[in-house]
Symmetry: C2
Subunit: 231 residues, 2 copies
């Protein structure tokens, strides 16, 4: 078979990227989803996605989609899984590559998101999603929990300065269970990746909680090696 028939006889497919975009706000883990604009299922809730173009990699497509919706660059993203069932999209045969992203909600462009019909919803309030998007979300959650054991994912979701109770609250949201206050502090501080600031955040208590930020150098070092993070 010649090179031409080898490649040219093969069928081509629409390829999409769909992003499961997590954020953290008001002590809740949230998801950015949007109202679909086109048929079939126009008006129904959907993950944020788009088609892969000829001149971009799938990773770049995901980053582009994210930027278009949130205005943000250089976001933490990871590829999750590719959904390839023939009839998963009722409009056409579309193979979808999913990514999850972790976003600091405060830093994103709320106006841009609204223009796209995108909204942050708390995980407990997520309506049914089109096609297999609910399954994608569930897999993303499983992966997020899994990833949190070996990677400091939580830090991507918090603002630059944060308190330990906030961080713990975030992990409690991710794992959907309570974490022991003392054990949590012990473990986090033992990693030695946090820098204690002189400021306190009194927004959630009278006593006030110390603010911390990441020690970038140690954090980068730890990222290279990975680490155990069993809660």
């Amino acid at each position: 078979m010649s090179i031409h028939s080898f490649y040219e006889n093969a069928p081509k497919h629409l390829v999409a990227v769909d992003c499961i975009i997590f954020g953290f706000e008001d002590g809740k883990l949230k998801l950015l989803i949007m109202k679909r604009k086109v048929d079939p299922m126009a008006g129904a809730w959907s993950l944020v996605g788009g088609f892969v173009q000829d001149n971009e990699s799938t990773d770049e497509a995901a980053a582009r989609v994210l930027k278009q919706t949130t205005g943000m660059d250089h976001i933490y993203m990871d590829q999750l899984h590719t959904y390839g069932d023939v009839n998963r999209d009722t409009g056409a045969r579309v193979i979808s590559v999913t990514y999850y992203a972790l976003i600091r909600i405060k830093e994103h462009d709320r106006i841009l998101a609204n223009d796209h019909g995108a909204h942050w919803l708390s995980l407990h309030q997520i309506p049914p999603l089109i096609f297999d998007h609910s399954v994608m979300l569930q897999h993303a959650l499983d992966k997020l929990r899994d990833k949190a054991h070996t990677y400091p994912v939580g830090f991507e979701l918090l603002p630059e300065k944060f308190t330990l109770p906030q961080l713990r609250n975030l992990y409690e949201e991710i794992y959907q269970r309570e974490l022991d206050k003392r054990n949590f502090r012990k473990k986090i501080l033992a990693m030695n990746i946090l820098e204690k600031l002189d400021e306190k955040d009194k927004s959630s208590s009278k006593k006030g909680a110390h603010l911390y930020k990441f020690d970038e150098a140690k954090y980068e070092q730890l990222m290279k090696t990975g680490f155990g993070f069993t809660m």
Copy 2:
């Protein structure tokens, strides 16, 4: 935008599946790779792969490719990652979804494999592979090791009856380090998923080692819940 322009304006892409096929034979972890038949890179070593057709899911495409090469059905397979760089295949823009498979080499169709130009090579003897296939292999190995912590992957690679030294040897190959004989037996037997047979295998020692096989019921039960398998 109408439904037609939404789907029809989007570009289409060649989508391939590439399989990282692991087997275990003569105490070595092996990989099934083949000589590529078409240009570019005809004659070079390649993973086993093929294009996704219109009437099949990506999972089905991977299973088909595997069956065409080994004659085997109902193989343990898992999707790994999708490689979407624009220029990763020098012949055309191809998006590749990778799968890894665990095979009992003894049960596969060696003649069929040879007809396809496919060969089992020990991991240490793998030549450079085309395109990004070496990267795919490395990721598959990482994933296999990772998966082995939470899933009894080793059992998929052994014949129905096997000895504990064989099983340990397999895990040593996967982790590329020695495992303590006593601790290994303790842990495996504590899982209570093995059935001890009356037969012995004397092929590798004069004393002979007891043969075991899996207790299907308990094994299925354990597969549902997952389990820790730290070696």
